[in-house]
């Protein structure tokens, strides 16, 4: 009996994220492997970087049974905290400024995923991003989890994004199909030139072309 593909939105997303694992070289953890930090950014707000970061963290945890820390590095929107119902909880900025310790701001949401909110945004995000404490903090996270997924700010709106990206082992750039221009992508990649960009994810891709026409014209996706 053949096993059908899951056509539900969750199933499609899962497959897309698996493709991202494969293409970016993210593999199941082996014994003694060091953790890796993956930043997720995009040229603009609303391109879907947070969605991809959440999905990536969830799929890494589910597919590889690995511990994943999802960090809200976007001090401007702090949307991960609200997505996980953490409200205005203390977070990354509080640790960097010494107001809290890492353990206190880490929220275990299930057996494999730990969420660290952005924290209070009343400080100076630029200083937080450039803080040397951040390097040590990410190292701590990598020791605790196989994967650290950091939701970075939008690159063309906050210069914290390139700075934070340099702290990561790899960066994924999310662009929104039919919305992000090639010029903005090129500028984003230019800003991230000192970071290791793993690749580009095209988000919210939809086709208005009927499948039979795609097949007839042999259109590439």
């Amino acid at each position: 009996m053949a096993i059908g593909l899951d056509d539900r939105p969750g199933g499609q997303l899962k497959e897309a994220l698996r493709e991202i694992h494969l293409m970016s070289g993210l593999t199941p953890p082996g014994p003694g492997d060091r953790g890796i930090a993956i930043g997720v950014t995009s040229p603009h707000f609303g391109d879907g970087k947070t969605t991809v970061a959440i999905g990536l963290a969830a799929s890494l945890a589910a597919d590889f049974s690995a511990d994943v820390t999802l960090v809200d590095g976007d001090f401007h929107t702090t949307s991960i905290a609200s997505e996980y119902g953490l409200g205005a909880a203390s977070g990354l900025t509080d640790v960097l400024t010494g107001r809290q310790d890492l353990e206190h701001v880490s929220h275990r949401v299930n057996s494999h995923i730990t969420v660290i909110p952005a924290g209070r945004t009343d400080g100076d995000p630029a200083r937080s991003a450039r803080s040397e404490n951040l390097v040590a903090l990410i190292d701590n996270m990598k020791r605790a989890s196989r994967f650290v997924v950091i939701d970075l700010p939008a690159s063309l709106h906050s210069m914290n994004a390139p700075v934070l990206a340099q702290r990561c082992d790899g960066v994924i750039v999310v662009v929104r199909a039919g919305n992000t221009s090639r010029r903005d992508l090129d500028r984003t990649l230019q800003l991230l030139k000192d970071s290791k960009v793993l690749g580009i994810v095209v988000n919210r891709r939809k086709s208005s072309v009927p499948r039979w026409i795609e097949d007839a014209l042999n259109l590439r996706r």
Partner: protein
């Protein structure tokens, strides 16, 4: 593959150096399908709307035309290089181009009480024409909204034309007659004077009763010759005046002989059939024009869209494309309908994130 190549080739022929991305082009076309289809549908409809008119009735009469004996046209200028029919068709059409003649025709047809207005302006479907067929046949026709009106108009055109031809002929003949009459009076006076001089000379020379003496008298012979010459002139003028008066008397008959109706104005039983050009040609041309507009619109939309749509938009980027995350919309009965799906998306803006988060739902909720 062939279609793909053909599509790309067609667009690279537009003269722009930018590489064409077939996927993006087709995507642009389908995203704007309503805007692209609108001119292709609307332009022919507009053409039909603006060109549709009630089908007119046509009445035609055939007239036999010859040149009158004096080698003039029945009316107007006679071109020796044209046939009599052509000469008259030109004359009739020239007259039909004047407002006064048209008004007179309509008045004669009983369709207009005064000649103050031009009825062809009131009814654009009205059309009067004349055309030569062959050497001596002229067809006079009328198009109008009713069979009766068309028939009346054709008859009125012929009658009005004849009336004007007769009036014009009479005017010319009268002028000639008047000329000859005056010349004759003058010549007659001169003749009377010469005769009086001759008689005086004869009275003063009684010996001229002798024919031999008269034949040798030079003065007498000179006077006699003057009288004879003048008598000839008077006789010629008198003949010409008589001929002119004869033409005047027979004027309308002569014109009628030169312009005689062979087939009276027909009574159309049905309106004219609509031409294939008007029925199909114009809408087809409209559709083609609409297609051009749609094509231009598509090209502008495509060329002005600099967003990333397909993997080909990422050509030249030095980092790899990791994948495509599909647009996530809540499943529903009408989820595939664009407007409905947009509304659904608005109502559930966090749907994608919730879905992303739910991927880890299989994991134990409790921290280990």
């Amino acid at each position: 593959m062939l279609n793909n190549g053909l599509l790309a080739w067609l667009l690279t022929q537009s003269g722009t150096e930018k590489r064409v991305i077939p996927r993006k082009l087709v995507e642009t076309a389908f995203r704007n399908k309503i805007a692209l289809l609108a001119p292709i549908v609307l332009v022919p409809l507009l053409v039909l709307l603006f060109t549709s008119s009630p089908r007119p009735y046509q009445s035609v009469a055939t007239v036999w035309v010859t040149e009158p004996p004096d080698q003039q046209a029945v009316l107007g200028h006679s071109d020796p290089w044209r046939t009599p029919a052509q000469n008259q068709a030109v004359a009739i059409n020239d007259l039909l181009a004047t407002r006064a003649f048209r008004a007179a025709v309509f008045q004669r047809a009983g369709l207009l009480s005064t000649t103050a207005n031009d009825p062809t302006r009131l009814d654009p479907s009205l059309r009067l024409w004349a055309a030569s067929t062959g050497v001596n046949l002229v067809k006079v026709g009328a198009l109008s909204g009713s069979a009766e009106t068309s028939q009346k108009l054709v008859g009125a055109v012929i009658e009005e034309y004849m009336a004007r031809a007769v009036a014009e002929g009479e005017r010319g003949i009268n002028a000639n007659a008047e000329f000859f009459r005056r010349q004759l009076e003058s010549a007659q006076r001169e003749l009377d004077e010469r005769r009086a001089k001759l008689n005086e000379y004869i009275a003063a020379h009684p010996e001229l009763t002798d024919i031999r003496l008269a034949a040798t008298n030079i003065d007498y012979q000179a006077l006699r010759t003057d009288v004879d010459a003048q008598t000839t002139i008077v006789q010629n003028l008198s003949d010409q005046l008589q001929g002119t008066e004869l033409r005047l008397a027979a004027g309308s008959t002569g014109q009628a002989a030169a312009f005689s109706v062979q087939d009276p104005p027909s009574r159309p039983r049905a309106p004219l059939k609509q031409s294939m050009t008007k029925r199909f040609g114009l809408p087809l041309a409209g559709a083609m024009f609409g297609g051009l507009i749609a094509g231009a619109f598509l090209l502008v939309r495509y060329r002005s869209d600099h967003t990333i749509v397909s993997i080909e938009d990422l050509a030249g980027v030095e980092v790899p494309t990791l994948g495509f995350v599909p647009e996530l919309t809540p499943p529903g009965l009408l989820g595939h309908v664009p407007i409905v799906s947009s509304l659904i998306r608005l109502r559930s803006s966090g749907y994608a994130r919730t879905t992303a988060r739910s991927i880890g739902a299989t994991l134990s909720e409790e921290p280990q």
